[in-house]
Symmetry: C2
C-alpha cells in the first residue's frame, strides 16, 4: 500500500483535516481557518504588532537534522520572539506552506502539531494559511500580537546612560548548528543541549511582557542574527553607541565545555552565533536593581547586564577584561552575503 | 562594471533602501518597517480580517512572462481580493521574499514598487517583511483588513432562495495564461487584454465594501480557483446546493473571440479557469433589484445574477439553455493534484 502524501490527500483534504486541530475558544478569534480570511476582534485600547518570517529548506533548516514537529515549532518560535521583542502578547498566526506533493502526510501533520502546539504554549492560535506546491519546503508565518497602546518596545528608544541587558545565555544555538554539521565523539555530553537550543528555541515572551507591564524598559530587540549584529542595529536606530563587556556576556556551561573540547572560540559563538532568540534590552542605570529583581520574577529566565549605552561618537565597542576596547562589528548572518 | 544584485547590496542595504518607499501618513500605522514588528492601531468597534498567500516561481508565475512590477502587484492583489471577499478595507501587509542572491537589484526595486504601488491603490500599506536566500523566487504576503464589527462576509451564510451574483467577467485570466503558454497569430487582438487580466488582477475591494455598507449580502467568496470550485466551497460551508445558469455566466468579448478563433470551449474557461479574482456573493431574491442598482454604484464593475441557492439535497448543478441540469464539479486548481 502506498503511503498517504500531501499529493494524494489533496489541498482540500489537508485543509479539512487541519480545521479540527485549529479549533479554539479564544474570544480574539471570531472566525478561524476555512474562509477567505480569519476574523479577529482586538481588545479596545490596545495596539497590534505585525511580523513575518520565512524559512527555506537547505538555507534555514535541514530535514535530516530537524524533525517535522520541531520545524513547525521553530517557525512559530521565530515570530513569537518578534512579539516578545515588542513586549506584545502573541495572539494569532497565519501559515503558508510550500511543499512537494510527495511530502509524507504523517510528517505534514506532525509539522502542523508543532506549529499549533508551540504556538498555544505562548497563547497564539493558528487562524489560517495557504498551501502551495514547491520543490523545496518553504514555510512562512505571519503573526499578530497585542500590546498596551503606545507601549510597544522599540529599537530606537535606547538612551545614553542606559544599561544593556540580555536574557538567558548566548551562543548555544550557533554551537548547536556547528555540532549538527560536525558530528563527532568530542564533548558528546554537551551536544544534545546545544542541539535542543538550536532546534527548539524558547521565545522570551514572558520577559517581553514583564518589561512592558513594569514599565522598566522601552527598548528591546531579539537576538536572531547574533549579539554583535543586534547591538549594532539597536544603536543605529537609537542614534547611540554601546560598550559591551566581554566577560559579562552570559554563556552556558554546555557551550564552554563544547568549545573547550573542540578548541573553538566561545566568545565568537556568543557574539556572532545566530538564532539565540534571547532578548537584548535597555533600562536606565538607576533602575538596574529593580530590573534584576522584578523582570525575571517567575519567568525562570536569567537577566544579565552586559554593558551600557554611550554617545554615538564612541561607536559600538567590546571591552576586554583588561579594559581594552575594540570595535564590535556585526558578525551575524546576512542571508545574501554568503 | 558588474550590475548591483541582491547579494551585493546585502540584506540590510536592501532594507535601508526600502524604508523610504514605505513611508506613510496613515494613522493606522504607528510604526512601519525596521523594528522587530510593525505597530498598528486598529479603529475602535471594528473587526480585523487576516489572510496570507504564497506564490512560487515556476508554479504560480514565470519570470519570462510577468514583469517584476506586475509580480509585486499580483502578490498584493491576491490578498487584497481575500479582503474584498470578507467585505473588509485592506490596511496593512507584511511581505516575505525568498530570492537568489544573483537577483538583479533593479528588478527587486521594481517588484517592491509593484507591491507598494498596487497596495496603495486599495488603501493598503506594506509595513514590514523578511528577506531570505532561496534558489527560486518565492513571495509571501500576509494582510490585515478592517471591517465593521460582526459584519464580515462569510462563506457559510448562503440561504436557500438567495440569488448568486458574480462581479465582472469570468475566464479571462485562465485564457490569458493559456495564451501566454501558447503564443501564436490567431486572435492576436484579444490576447493583450487576456494577458493583462492574468498578470494584473484588479481586486474587487469597492464591491466587497459596498456589500457590507449596504447590508445587501452576508455571504461572499473570491473566485481564485475557478467558479466551479468556489461555488462548491460556498455551498459546502453553507450547507446548501446551487443552480448556475450556463448562459448567464458573464464572459468578455475578448474571451469569446479568443475561444472562437482557437476552437476552445469558452464555458470551460469561465467555469474552471482560475485566478479571476472576481467576487461570488449571494443576496435574498427580494433584494435583487436593489443589488443591481446599489452595489455597482460608482465602482464601474458589472454585477450579474448567475443562479440561485437551492436545498442541499439538489446538489450543485449547471443548467443549460434547454433547461437540462448536470452536476457542476470543481474543475479548478488543486496545488497538489497535478
Amino acid at each position: 500500500m502506498r503511503s498517504k502524501t500531501l499529493g494524494s490527500a489533496g489541498e482540500f483534504g489537508f485543509i479539512r483535516d487541519l480545521r479540527t486541530r485549529l479549533a479554539t475558544r479564544d474570544p480574539f478569534v471570531r472566525l478561524g481557518a476555512g474562509d477567505d480570511a480569519a476574523v479577529l476582534r482586538p481588545a479596545p485600547g490596545r495596539d497590534l504588532v505585525f511580523t513575518t518570517d520565512m524559512m527555506v529548506e537547505g538555507r534555514h533548516f535541514d530535514l535530516k537534522t530537524i524533525t517535522p514537529w520541531q520545524l513547525g515549532a521553530k517557525c512559530m518560535a521565530v515570530n513569537l520572539s518578534d512579539c516578545a521583542a515588542m513586549g506584545a502578547e502573541p495572539k494569532a498566526a497565519v501559515v503558508s506552506l510550500g511543499a512537494p506533493k510527495t511530502f509524507p502526510y504523517k510528517n505534514l501533520m506532525s509539522f502542523c502539531d508543532g506549529l499549533v502546539g508551540w504556538g498555544r504554549q505562548f497563547g497564539c492560535n493558528v487562524v489560517g494559511g495557504d498551501t502551495v506546491g514547491s520543490e523545496k519546503l518553504v514555510v512562512n508565518v505571519a503573526m499578530l500580537g497585542e500590546v498596551e497602546k503606545g507601549k510597544a518596545l522599540r529599537r530606537d528608544a535606547a538612551r545614553v546612560g542606559d544599561i544593556l541587558f540580555v536574557t538567558g545565555t548566548l551562543g548555544d544555538s550557533g554551537a548547536g548548528l556547528h555540532s549538527l554539521r560536525h558530528p563527532g565523539k568530542k564533548a558528546k555530553e554537551a551536544r544534545p543541549l546545544l542541539h535542543q537550543r538550536h532546534l527548539l528555541p524558547v521565545p522570551r515572551c514572558t520577559v517581553g511582557r514583564s518589561l512592558v507591564r513594569t514599565g522598566l524598559s522601552k527598548c528591546a530587540i531579539d537576538v536572531s542574527d547574533g549579539l554583535s549584529s543586534e547591538v549594532n542595529h539597536l544603536c543605529e536606530e537609537s542614534g547611540v553607541g554601546a560598550e559591551i563587556h566581554a566577560e559579562a556576556v552570559p554563556v552556558s556551561p554546555a557551550l564552554s565545555y563544547y568549545c573547550q573540547e573542540l578548541r573553538l572560540d566561545t566568545l565568537k559563538f556568543a557574539l556572532d552565533g545566530g538564532e539565540d532568540y534571547e532578548l537584548l534590552f535597555t533600562a536606565p542605570l538607576r533602575r538596574l536593581k529593580e530590573v534584576l529583581r522584578r523582570v525575571p520574577g517567575g519567568t525562570g529566565v536569567a537577566i544579565t547586564p552586559i554593558g551600557r549605552i554611550v554617545p554615538r561618537s564612541r561607536g559600538v565597542r567590546l571591552v576586554d577584561p583588561q579594559g581594552r576596547r575594540r570595535p564590535l562589528v556585526p558578525g551575524g548572518f546576512d542571508h545574501f552575503a554568503r
